[in-house]
């Protein structure tokens, strides 16, 4: 079920320095023991003596390989394990099983050499110092990451101008809006020119304009610096705008790992044909065509099997009163949502444990 993706994006530098993948994950798993909160008076009293717990498998043996310069989207519903994976790769938590290396380091050993080479940005979670103006936070970053002062000034100015936040950096961070704060977080994250960038739902809660600005920024910066980026999200918009490689994760497992284009080919069996009539067609007649259909006024939407499109279309076009027709792929959102549902429908492997 897992498709390996062969990157064609190596540039000369990467080939020269190391052909080894930047990120290599094998059999990575993470389990948590969660204690149940008791409901009801009797249960509460009972909980004084004995607590029930469950073992939750946040990640179940995941494997992944990412080459230098790739922009990978980690897509999945809430609770799928994508943030857990990111936290493991950035060394915030330690795994229950399995191995991972990022830039040759084991993340959860938290070596300073490793931590200097990557950055993590989490949506809706503030990493800048709350009380200080952003400019102070940047200066602190410079000291923490030991960035050469001249380089720091250049990088900072470039990033600040790219995102258009120059006016904001002197204000205390807590006075800024979510969108403004996220832009400043991105600046702070890139000041030390990391080789790997982890983004955890960076556009969550942002308005469309801010999302778009950030998308453009990320695309530009990633190509310019050949950064390896992993972005978790549950918005298709992020995926479509930014990445070519999509990893779908649900229930702690990777369901799909390949290019966006292949998702459509692989997971859909039909195309969507939309017919616009001069006036509302006869419902019975439409149903007699034999395809799953939806009638909305003068518009009829049909789902036709891909292999039969060539045969099915001509008679439709010749039909009475057809004014316009369009043939489209099933929208990505739908495909992915279906994948999520399929993943959720699998039998859960949560073990009930009573100590």
């Amino acid at each position: 079920m897992v498709f390996a993706y062969n990157s064609s994006m190596h540039n000369a530098d990467a080939a020269a320095s190391d052909a080894a993948p930047v990120i290599r994950v094998a059999g990575l798993a993470k389990e948590y023991r969660v204690y149940d909160k008791p409901e009801g008076l009797m249960a509460s009293v009972r909980s004084l003596f004995h607590r029930e717990s469950r073992l939750v498998e946040a990640l179940r043996g995941v494997a992944l390989t990412v080459e230098r310069g790739e922009f990978v989207a980690l897509l999945g519903p809430n609770g799928a394990g994508k943030t857990t994976l990111l936290k493991l790769l950035s060394g915030i938590i330690t795994p229950s099983r399995g191995t991972a290396t990022v830039l040759g380091h084991v993340p959860w050993e938290r070596a300073d050499d490793f931590r200097r080479r990557f950055a993590l940005v989490m949506g809706q979670r503030n990493q800048l110092w709350w009380d200080l103006p952003a400019a102070e936070s940047f200066r602190l970053h410079q000291e923490i990451y030991r960035i050469d002062p001249a380089q720091f000034a250049r990088t900072r100015d470039e990033l600040v101008d790219l995102l258009g936040v120059r006016k904001l950096i002197l204000q205390p961070v807590r006075e800024l809006s979510l969108g403004e704060r996220m832009k400043l977080e991105l600046v702070a994250a890139l000041l030390h020119e990391p080789e790997v960038l982890f983004l955890d739902e960076p556009t969550i809660g942002l308005d469309v304009v801010a999302q778009h600005t950030i998308h453009t920024f990320l695309r530009h910066v990633q190509t310019q610096r050949q950064m390896t980026v992993i972005l978790t999200t549950h918005y298709m918009k992020d995926v479509a705008a930014l990445c070519e490689r999509l990893v779908v994760i649900t229930g702690g497992e990777i369901l799909y790992d390949g290019s966006l284009a292949e998702v459509v080919d692989r997971f859909t069996t039909h195309k969507i044909v939309t017919l616009d009539f001069d006036e509302e067609p006869d419902r019975a007649a439409v149903e007699r065509l034999g395809f799953p259909c939806e009638v909305r006024g003068p518009r009829v939407i049909l789902r036709i099997d891909r292999t039969r499109i060539a045969d099915a279309l001509p008679p439709l076009l010749r039909g009475e009163g057809v004014r316009d027709v369009s043939v489209e792929d099933v929208p990505l959102e739908e495909i992915v949502a279906e994948l999520f549902r399929a993943g959720a429908a699998r039998p859960p492997r949560v073990t009930e444990v009573v100590p």
Partner: protein, 269 residues
Amino acid sequence: MLAIAIEERLVYRGDFALGTLMRFLPIVTQVFLWTAVFSATSRGDIAGYSRNDIVAYYLLTMLSRAFSSMPGLAGGIARSIRDGSIKKFLVQPVDYVAFLLATRVAHKLVYYVVAAIPFAVVFFLCRGFFPPAPDAATVAAFLLSLVLSFLLGFFMEATLGMLGFWFMEVSSIVFGYMLVQYLLSGHMFPIDMLAGIPSGLPGTTLADVVTWLPFQFTAFFPAAVWLGKVQGGELVRLLVLEVAWVVVMVVACRVAWARGTRRYSGFGG
């Protein structure tokens, strides 16, 4: 509703039981301190308190303070004045003070039910320090003093909170009140111990002066009643004084509310 409140407390079972017991810990240190004080003097008692009396005294003040302490009352009133949430009480036919009083009673009841066990355990273990149980009349006076201390504590803090109608920052005033309470309520030491210190006024001691103030009723007085340190005519006099103070504070609270709301509405808030 009571069941839900209790349930919520039980969910934080470890925290709660431990927290209640931990509140008795500072008494342990005080007891050792007083024991050391006694051992260095040749006296059998200080201001009429033997060492055991003092232990019993501190335990009893834990009880009286459980009745009279009103955490967050003044601050809460001031805050709702500041952020405007008090406005709905100006409009609705609900008496704000009565509402606050009712909620406090409910909170206290729940607290007593759940804290009863840790308290009972501690008192049982320390029963050796207590003098023989007092007679029925004294017990009745004790219970009365507890109820009165609840009312007094409530109305004192409520009135302070009402000052929020006139002052932006009530917290400094509340802090001053807390400081005075700490010193003069009997929380740190029995007020009787001030009997040896002359006050500024001729012929009186500090103890004499402090016993006219309302603060002693929130901690010292109920404990003193149980231990028999105030009896007979003196006991009656002080009970009457306590009632008087309660009345004064109720009136003060009402006046503050009336004047305050008038002032508040005048600002078109």
